[in-house]
């Protein structure tokens, strides 16, 4: 019990220290463009109260949710296919390895040449960032099935179908879920890059607009809010993961 109390105390101290330093740095007369924590928090509260933050998120989360949902269905399917079949693996593994290594900020403007500046491009940006890790994790989850579990299944005359349904897929479930969580993390990066590089909408609009009218507390509040949203949702997914796949 004291252990968890001790842990909580240190974690709390870490937040206090961080926000304290932020407050100090903001009050230091270096740059007018860097507001202290207190003014950022007030600005955040204002944006929550007048509904502009909620409106922005409704727009931002659309391509994120769409992209992640598409990745969850097609990406996991692809990864499983690659894990189960050598030919699918040879066909598509290079694509995902290249996608994983490619600097996305350089490629995203290319999407706009093809798909314009609408929702499609933003969904694509999310997919291009999130898909590789989702596909690769599903693929590795399938491939890493313990060989003696497969031999066990064969020794009891299990069919290939039973092997996949009763052993390979449950075995991969943990890694697939991890892939989804990491994919969401990449998706957050993708959506912010897309909203800053393609057209400012949603939270990207709040950031660029407030920056252009020099309302820095609001700009920082928008940035801090998406960082917090990403951190909290990923943390919750991680806890869910630990409960489901101990």
């Amino acid at each position: 019990m004291t252990g968890t109390y001790g842990q909580r105390a240190w974690q709390l101290a870490s937040f206090v220290l961080f926000f304290g330093l932020w407050e100090l740095a903001g009050r230091w007369p270096v740059s007018a463009a860097f507001p202290p924590f207190s003014r950022t928090a007030v600005a955040l509260w204002q944006m929550i109260a007048d509904g502009s933050l909620l409106k922005a998120y409704l727009i931002t989360l659309q391509p994120l949710a769409l992209g992640i949902a598409l990745c969850a269905v097609a990406g996991i399917g692809f990864g499983i296919g690659m894990g189960l079949s050598r030919s699918v693996e040879w066909l598509s593994l290079p694509i995902f390895i290249i996608l994983q290594a490619a600097p996305m900020a350089a490629i995203i403007p290319l999407i706009t040449y093809i798909y314009g500046i609408g929702l499609t491009s933003k969904v694509l940006a999310v997919i291009m960032l999130a898909a590789p890790v989702i596909v690769m994790n599903s693929y590795k989850g399938i491939r890493n099935t313990h060989p003696s579990l497969l031999q066990m299944c064969r020794s009891f005359q299990g069919t290939r179908r039973q092997e996949i349904v009763k052993i390979v897929l449950p075995h991969a479930a943990g890694l697939i879920f991890t892939g989804l969580r990491l994919g969401l993390a990449m998706g957050f990066i993708g959506i912010v890059i897309a909203e800053l590089l393609i057209t400012p909408t949603g939270i990207g609009d709040l950031i660029t607009y407030n920056s252009s009218i020099a309302d820095y507390p609001k700009m920082f509040a928008a940035i801090a809010s998406i960082v917090a949203l990403a951190a909290i949702s990923l943390h919750l997914l991680e806890r869910l993961e630990r409960r489901w796949f101990p």
Binding site: H146, S148, L149, Q151, M152, C153, R154, S155, F156, Q157, G158, T159, Q162, K166, I167, P170, H171, P246
Partner: protein
């Protein structure tokens, strides 16, 4: 002879010759041990008999019929237990029957019976991670027993079980297998274990694995475990085997 191995050879894809011209026969209802230093191909031979890995030459006859894959008359107990980590003891033990499509209530009834026989009553709803190594292997053994195979193939089942548990487990195993009249082929690298458990001991020489000698320890099985461990025939067998094996190590 319930299992016959004729001129079996195995060379792995990396060029390692694991077995060369192995000829063996395993009598029904007896416990035979494959014994030898590591790298002598004893696990390879056991898995060839199980039909889990292909051989390059020769044939394996089970009850007089050549076999090329796993079959319902053979059940395998794995060195690393091969339990489903996400499934309870009950589901793991019933898994062989689940694969055969037996309905849930029936197979769990059978599984419960064997869980009790291997001494795990009360642990049905635990998961493998909550069990000790010895208990996990009891789950593996119970799973092999549920499918009612005549032949039980065991690949170093006690190698990850600590010494104290191992002795108790060996005694339980002997009782259980005699009671069910199983034919057992057992891989081990422990001379004492082989001499204590076996009716027939096959000594394999390493690289490539060939049959070096077949020893029949005439240990009186009606004695108690402690008497057996002090028995003349048992001690002589251990000495004899060590005399042969020491040239390979």
């Amino acid at each position: 002879m319930i299992v016959e191995v004729k001129n079996v050879a195995k060379t792995y894809e990396n060029g390692v010759e694991a077995l060369r011209d192995v000829n063996l026969a395993f009598p029904q209802g007896q416990l035979s041990t494959l014994l030898g230093p590591s790298g002598c191909g004893k696990t390879t031979l056991l898995k060839i008999i199980a039909g889990l890995i292909p051989r390059n030459a020769g044939e394996v006859l089970v009850k007089g019929k050549p076999v090329d894959g796993p079959g319902p008359e053979r059940a395998f107990v794995f060195q690393d237990f091969a339990l489903l980590p996400w499934a309870s003891v009950l589901r793991n033990v019933a898994f062989g029957l689940e694969l055969r499509g037996m309905e849930r209530e029936k197979r769990e009834e059978v599984a419960r019976r064997y869980i009790a026989e291997v001494g795990l009553k009360g642990f049905e709803h635990r998961h493998p991670s909550q069990l000790s190594g010895g208990m996990r292997q009891r789950v593996g053994l119970a799973r092999a027993l549920t499918v009612d195979a005549d032949i039980i193939l065991m690949d170093e089942p006690f190698s990850s079980v600590d010494e104290q548990t191992r002795r108790k487990f060996q005694e339980d195993l002997l009782d259980l297998l005699r009671h069910h009249r199983k034919t057992v082929i057992f891989v081990t690298h422990s001379i004492e274990e082989a001499a204590y458990l076996s009716d027939q001991i096959v000594l394999l020489s390493p690289r490539p694995g060939t049959v070096s000698r077949v020893v029949n320890p005439n240990v009186d099985r009606n004695k108690t475990p402690d008497e057996i461990r002090r028995d003349r025939a048992y001690l002589d067998t251990v000495d004899e085997i060590w005399g042969i094996l020491r040239q390979y190590v």
